[in-house]
Symmetry: D2
Amino acid sequence: MGKQVLHIDCPDEKGLVYRITEVLYNYGLNIVSNQEFVDATSNHFVMRTAFEGDRTPEGVVRDLNKALPADANIRRAEIGHRSIVVMATKEAHCLGDLLLRYSYGEIPADIDAVISNYGELEALSRAFDVPFHQVSHKGLERRAHEKQLQEVIDRYDPDYIVLAKYMRIFTPEFVNRYRGRIVNIHHSFLPAFIGANPYRQAFERGVKIIGATAHFVTEDLDEGPIIAQDVLPVNHTHTADQMANAGRDVEKTVLAKAVKLLLEERIFIHNGRTIVFE
Amino acid sequence: MGKQVLHIDCPDEKGLVYRITEVLYNYGLNIVSNQEFVDATSNHFVMRTAFEGDRTPEGVVRDLNKALPADANIRRAEIGHRSIVVMATKEAHCLGDLLLRYSYGEIPADIDAVISNYGELEALSRAFDVPFHQVSHKGLERRAHEKQLQEVIDRYDPDYIVLAKYMRIFTPEFVNRYRGRIVNIHHSFLPAFIGANPYRQAFERGVKIIGATAHFVTEDLDEGPIIAQDVLPVNHTHTADQMANAGRDVEKTVLAKAVKLLLEERIFIHNGRTIVFE
Amino acid sequence: MGKQVLHIDCPDEKGLVYRITEVLYNYGLNIVSNQEFVDATSNHFVMRTAFEGDRTPEGVVRDLNKALPADANIRRAEIGHRSIVVMATKEAHCLGDLLLRYSYGEIPADIDAVISNYGELEALSRAFDVPFHQVSHKGLERRAHEKQLQEVIDRYDPDYIVLAKYMRIFTPEFVNRYRGRIVNIHHSFLPAFIGANPYRQAFERGVKIIGATAHFVTEDLDEGPIIAQDVLPVNHTHTADQMANAGRDVEKTVLAKAVKLLLEERIFIHNGRTIVFE
Amino acid sequence: MGKQVLHIDCPDEKGLVYRITEVLYNYGLNIVSNQEFVDATSNHFVMRTAFEGDRTPEGVVRDLNKALPADANIRRAEIGHRSIVVMATKEAHCLGDLLLRYSYGEIPADIDAVISNYGELEALSRAFDVPFHQVSHKGLERRAHEKQLQEVIDRYDPDYIVLAKYMRIFTPEFVNRYRGRIVNIHHSFLPAFIGANPYRQAFERGVKIIGATAHFVTEDLDEGPIIAQDVLPVNHTHTADQMANAGRDVEKTVLAKAVKLLLEERIFIHNGRTIVFE
């Protein structure tokens, strides 16, 4: 038997939990967990309910719509019946880690395909029996390239697109097409470094910590809502290359965590911030 | 305006959240947060509800009692109107850290008194204007000493007793008298070391991590329900003394965290395990 | 050009660094790093010197032998020209992570072969073009099984044997045969749990942290010198299975770290403790 | 008996360790630890030698000067005979933590005085018997204020000045006067936030980690060489204020670590980066 998840969010008012749980109770749902949060800054209510069952009864969403304010968002999802497409460029660590976890059942979704603008990662993808598509950007304008990418992505109609070190920037049009469905992993530092070769800058600044941030992709490059972050200690003995190496470990771990949170439908986005029910 | 907390736990059954939130809704309570958990192993339901108000209306508990199974535990508490007594022996780090946090308003309770079997910590306590009581164990049998301790403790009638490196073992009678109300901090290692001088043993074993565990005190020495844990890295350059020094940092941080969780009523104990709503 | 490492250890006395660096200077070696440590408890001196070069001149070791006390241990190794054999049972996370790192050049050694008592991991090994040997223990006495294992291992003559969740215990004879060359990964908890199903015990005790320890294998099961340790936070929402899942992440990371430290010859063992020059 | 430390740095060339340890050996020094590092980027050699003794023999520095390149920096220090002055504004957490550690002997120096532009921290300082000086900036131009600060600081002639949440910016003249001797603690985020109220910005961005950086103060505000950094996890339930609260824990821990590293003379600055021999 699968697990169903209901995502509800709306402006806060008294009695929301009562009204929601009344509907769920009327349908006799076997609730496994129930998480709520009210963002006091924006007075916004958010609730995730997981229950056991093969499917969410049709009436539940209808009755919730009646019981809740008109501007409530109600979304349902079946955990474990999702699919993702992974995009990468040449680096194997994030893609490989996802494929490995997928191979032993830790990713609650199908990895339908890997898409890359280069061919380096083909063998790795095929080793895990995942279709690989090379969509080279060579000689193409950005939109022409994205059109080809879209064509491959849409063939699979994935729930989410995971950028596992995909090193190109998307146009706002592309981002909008898959709004809220693209996740990226990005190295992060204290302090932050702007511009080329951040690990070189981090080295020159002598940072003692390097990190990674998994976030949704929005028009603002590397600025979308943050899903997960972590850091590792480094020191003066690390060259810029060794910092980048160490960075791989935290990048792959943070991305895998974000992908699992996403696929278990544990993330809400409100006002540019995420609410993550771990 | 204060913050009220309701703690409810009972065997799980369908509709509990619905019935509870119905009562809260009927009383028009302004709920700030609502956290639930069902321990699938024991089929036990646990819920913490925080709401704003000067006090919990009498009727709420009465109506909850009617709405819930007969064996439900319902407890209410006012955050910020609690008191603790701290017990210590000679080491200043945990006591000092609590007093310091208390001085800038981070401990949501009054520290009514410090009790020690030695006199070393008197100046520190007085520096923060907290009454200090030396209750020496010299020449006393364990129960006679505990009788004197009880006499001082009961004068303050504290909500909780915090053992901030109090280095003596209590009798089961003493523990029972304050059941569920005594918190201790204990160094912890991977692997664990039994017997005298654990930091010496940890050094000889070459551990790379040292930790601390804050837990409720039960008859089983150092074995009560765990509230919080953390670790710090160490290496071969640390002597046993330096490991103990490093251990102080993690001990004081973990104890302070546990005390705050306790005073915000975020902890449930069920089947010897804690459920901590962070 | 490769990197050479000299490992020297002996009872401490004045002038050791001077005498050692005099020899190195006489041979004009281009020293990249030099790390020393004196274990004050046992008065033992330990030094790791890395220098660039294709090989260590013969005379260096001879002259060091002359310059140092008679009981000095002098060992040299070429980084990057080592080989390992990985042993596993059925779980893919540690083996897969090593193979993945190997595939992108992060393991400074050849992974010559994977040996398992089951067949589950064959596809994974072959996906990374590493020979796989199933050596079943079914119907064999422990020594007869180990004889078959030895036969396969010795065919490759590896520098180190990495137990990547190999779930069987070795006889002292087997351990002695590869003394100081077998590394294991072991889940670890605060407190430690003895006996079967430690994750179940950790769950029942409500631990807030789970960890992993990489260590050399000695006759004392899970008690050999510790190389690396790390932990992850868990909480009451983790079932025993989810704790075990989380444990996989820390197990694979700690094992990979230990293997890299080993292959870069950063580890000394003295008096049952490791000195790890990170 | 005290502990002496020699700090040596110069452009790298072959035989430096040999030549240095020859001098130390000639004087029969009892070396406790010896740490070297060559920054391959700038080809710069750095060495810290600790040895036991009441003082460093005069001849040692003279002979080292002869043995080493003309542009070598040689510095000696006696651990445990240093002094610091702490500057703060109104927040007690960093100052209090330092005073507490000082009270139980964890700071290897005298805290000679506390200086603040406000009076809030006077009671705390006096509680630990440390002289407190209020030097208000009210109605004073920056330089006039700094002149008064200088006058108090120079009365104590401290080895280092520790900014424990001192919330004012210094002129380059002030910074230059105490070049390499002022340490600051600064909240840090991933990503970094510029401008007012960083915790508010961090909250609005939904960061999952907050951190702190201890660094030397240079003319570039909050941009001096980094000594130590650490982070803590936060989540959507943290308000901006609660993030700031959590930030206090990491700020005080990182500052205390930096102060100890400084007073044990474990830090070199080269090319704007620190080399920290932990």
